[in-house]
């Protein structure tokens, strides 16, 4: 099975997924969904990494993806803890209510 898919196809998927993640951050008001959109963007960057690693026949891309996943896990843990605290203080997690610093 020597059939292959060009690198550009994977890059196209990665670009589309990244744009959707950015769009989700911009249009959604629920911080949990905003957070998931950030994860979607990280994921699309990982896909581009692995595709380039395949293309250049270098393992470094895969190792970088491993580190990105670790950082994403830490980031999700801290971010969700922050959301829980905000909910505890304001009894709501609407992003519009987080305006304490507004003059």
């Amino acid at each position: 099975m020597a059939d292959t898919i060009p690198l550009s196809y994977y890059l196209a998927i990665s670009v589309v997924l990244f744009t959707m993640g950015a769009l989700g951050v911009l249009i959604r008001r629920n911080p949990l969904i905003v957070f998931m959109s950030v994860e979607l963007m990280l994921n699309s960057a990982n896909l581009a990494f692995v595709a380039f690693a395949r293309s250049f026949n270098a393992l470094t891309g895969q190792i970088f993806v491993f580190f990105v996943m670790t950082v994403a896990a830490a980031e999700v843990a801290v971010g969700l803890a922050l959301i829980v605290i905000i909910f505890r203080n304001k009894h709501s997690i609407d992003v519009d209510l987080m305006n304490n610093l507004k003059g």
Binding site: Q62, A73, A74, A77, I83
Partner: protein, 175 residues
């Protein structure tokens, strides 16, 4: 039209549809499940690209651990459905316009030099079938990249301690 291409197109449709579902779903639990679907299809992309280790880490860490954490917090907060907030009327069109601009920019920058990236990738089946790729990856991770690997363990420890400190109730605090 060969088998791999058909598989690729089906996966691409599933991944993009799941991302759209994440964007439009009103219920946060549905959004999380759409994201799991997206992660699963991207994991199969990794398998197609000859990266079985990354694919398994994707399933266990992302679709497993991270999304379970998300669902746990959603249900803990009872945030499945938020009351409809007042929306700025110009926000959505501006956001969509900016997203289209971003897409156009990324496509332009990535595909300007189409000749270098449109070369077909080597046969993925060759490395998937052998354990040699996994062995090489492990060797690189624990020799050449040992220090970054250890630093990530410290990062995870700091994140864990930070989360515990953040969510700990003060003495005498109610609620």
């Amino acid at each position: 039209m060969n088998l791999t291409l058909i598989l690729f197109i089906v996966l691409a449709v599933v991944a993009v549809a799941a991302a759209i579902g994440l964007l439009v779903s009103r219920n946060t639990v549905y959004a999380a499940l759409f994201l799991v679907l997206n992660y699963a299809s991207v994991a199969v992309f990794y398998l197609l690209l000859g990266a079985p280790f990354i694919a398994l880490v994707q399933v266990t860490v992302y679709a497993g651990a991270i999304m379970v954490l998300f669902l746990f917090v959603i249900m803990l907060l009872g945030a499945e459905k938020l009351p409809k907030a007042k929306v700025l009327p110009w926000q959505r069109p501006v956001a969509i316009g900016l997203a289209v601009l971003l897409l156009a920019e990324a496509v332009f920058l990535l595909f300007r030099r189409l000749t270098t990236i449109s070369t077909p990738l080597a046969n993925p089946a060759a490395s998937v079938n052998s354990t040699e790729a996994l062995r090489t990856l492990g060797m690189a991770l624990f020799n050449q990249y040992l220090l970054p690997f250890e630093v990530t363990s410290i990062l995870l420890l700091v994140a864990m301690v930070g989360v515990i400190v953040l969510t700990k109730k003060e003495k005498g605090e109610q609620g």
